[in-house]
Amino acid sequence: MAVKTLLEAIRDTLSSEMARDERVIVMGEDVGAKGGVFKATDGLQKEYGEDRVIDAPLAEGVIVGAAIGAALNGLRPVAEIQFADFIWPAMDQIVSEAARLRYRTNGDFGCPLVIRTPYGGGVHGALYHSQSIEATFAHVPGLKVVAPATPAEAKGLLAAAIRDEDPVLFLEHKKLYRSIKGDVPEGEYVLPIGKADLKREGKDLSIITYGAMLHLALQAADNLAAEGISAEVLDLRTIQPFDREAVAATVHKTNRALILYEDNKTMGFGAEIAAFLSEELFDELDAPITRLAGPDIPAMPYNHHLEKAFLPQLDDVLQAVRKLAAY
């Protein structure tokens, strides 16, 4: 085990996957000499050459479009979209092409492609460097959406994404890049896509979350233990296909669910979890399914106070949990 930041885990996994499989290439804006704006591809071009680590023109449509073409013709491209907020010009390629190629050809073609992108807020990124995009893409059948919350998860899930036969949108919460350190297993370490992880056991209620909010949930659970409230924390890890069995299992155990996410509340991914629980576990619920999420404004503002007001804070989680536990 080595202690790494989430960013180091991603960089090292890209490198080890490129060493393992010469079909793996990296393509995106500033990924070459600069090593990416966050340094997620630092040193890769030196290690693997300009052919395999490609500084793309500043056009997201062709970054993903060319990656699809390369995937169709024998490579395993890892495309980087510099910020998730800039992914929209590539929407046509992701939704109409990558996600549909297998279905529209009745299985004749596949599109083994990874799109990595930093998402989420809390770093003064304002309206265009903070967005959460997972719900939009989770609505697209044929696309897998992964959101690791720890360095070990980042390694295991990135390796799985690169080896997957289908397109994977790999979401890296930019606030976690350097703020979270953790043990990362050495050598071969692949985590299954579609499996959640129970990060903390509890008996009174379940907090279901992913990404940066996991760490807030764990902190809240620590504080609440002192008050005698035992919160279970489920880390989804994969947004789509999400681990229905694990979500059902934790709520089956605690009978109360708080769904925590930083995206806009309405139609955010938590809405799907809530719908799933109400369809499948209605008889087992002892309290209303509760969502704590960002407000329905276009995105989080730059100003520190406004940004903080957008993001769920520790006190918000504590209050929501207390209310749910007391119901």
Partner: protein, 325 residues
């Protein structure tokens, strides 16, 4: 070349007849594009080179190995349709075995993809050339610019072929672009642009062969504007009398590449009337047989509708209970 042109035309005419008889909901045409398609096709190496066609490329996909039966299975949306198993509209071709990349309906998405496929060809040292086709309406999109720009920066082995029939559904070329032909845009990417009469298969072959040689020898991409004519409405759901003057359509008919190539071959004694009759009988029989075969072929089982969203073994990792709903 002539035989595949005739086969393309006869197949296409049959699609329209079947559509008007109510035996298929949709068709979209290659009529007027056959010479450009086969001139390009003969410059490429089917089985080796990679084709990104668009929905009018009946001639090209036949040349690359699809059969009249394959295309009729697509028209009738049968389970055995090799392009999509009846999932896509007709003429959304695809065949991994024949290196024909699947066609979608949003236009121009294939252009950046062809660039990426050519990047893979270059990195894998496969000696393949990638050819991508599109209409002139496509060239207004950002994807056209992005694909050509990237391909030219890296001198990738790809040829961009615009089958320019002057009409993007109802919008004429002069409302689509301010340049006289698409080839002029090549200079913005520092790559060769060639405007050619795409109703002349020999001229088209010469231009395409030069582009293919350049791509295969590491010289990078070429943009070809092949001027063709559209002899039908946009699709079976279009009525072009609302926007197209009959004189213009008449002019287009005089450019029809199939009878003109026939005249050329007769004039040079490569073909005689008897051989042409025999050829047309062969082609007609092939198309008749394809119709009979495809129409009698089974429809897709509704049970299969949920399949192939993901690779099948990965699908098995999702519990059936949750996906079956």
């Amino acid at each position: 070349m002539y035989e595949t042109m005739v086969l393309s035309r006869v197949l296409d005419e049959r699609f329209w007849i079947l559509n008007r008889q109510g035996r298929g909901a949709f068709t979209i045409s290659c009529q007027g594009h056959e010479a450009a398609q086969l001139g390009l096709g003969f410059a490429l190496q089917p089985g080796k080179d990679v084709l990104f066609p668009y929905y009018r490329d009946i001639g090209l996909v036949l040349h690359f190995g699809m059969t009249p039966r394959d295309l009729m299975l697509g028209f009738f949306a049968r389970a055995a349709d090799p392009s999509s198993g009846g999932r896509q509209m007709p003429n959304h071709f695809g065949s991994a075995r024949n290196k024909i990349i699947s066609v979608s309906s949003p236009v121009a998405t294939q252009i950046p993809q062809a660039t990426g496929a050519a990047l893979a060809s270059k990195l894998r040292h496969t000696d393949e050339v990638v050819a991508v086709c599109f209409g002139e309406g496509c060239t207004s999109s950002g994807a056209f610019h992005e694909g050509l720009n990237f391909a030219s920066i890296h001198r990738l082995p790809v040829i961009f072929v615009c089958e320019n029939n002057g009409w993007a559904i109802s919008v004429p070329q002069e409302k689509q672009m301010a340049v006289p032909n698409v080839a002029e845009r090549a200079s913005a990417y520092n790559l060769p642009g060639r405007a050619v009469d795409g109703t002349d298969p020999v001229a088209m072959y010469a231009v395409a062969a030069e582009a293919v040689n350049r791509a295969r020898s590491g010289g990078g991409p070429t943009l070809i504007d092949a001027r063709v004519c559209r002899l039908t409405p946009h699709s079976s759901d279009d009525d072009d009398r609302r926007y197209r003057a009959s004189e213009e359509l008449e002019r287009s008919r005089r450019l029809d590449p199939v009878p003109r190539f026939r005249q050329l071959l007769l004039g040079r004694n490569v073909l005689d009337e008897a051989a042409d009759r025999a050829l047309r009988e062969r082609v007609g029989a092939l198309v008749d047989e394809a119709v009979e075969f495809a129409e009698a072929s089974p429809e897709p089982d509704v049970e299969t509708m949920l399949r192939h969203v993901f690779a099948e073994d990965a699908e098995e990792t999702i519990p059936e209970r949750w996906t079956a709903r």
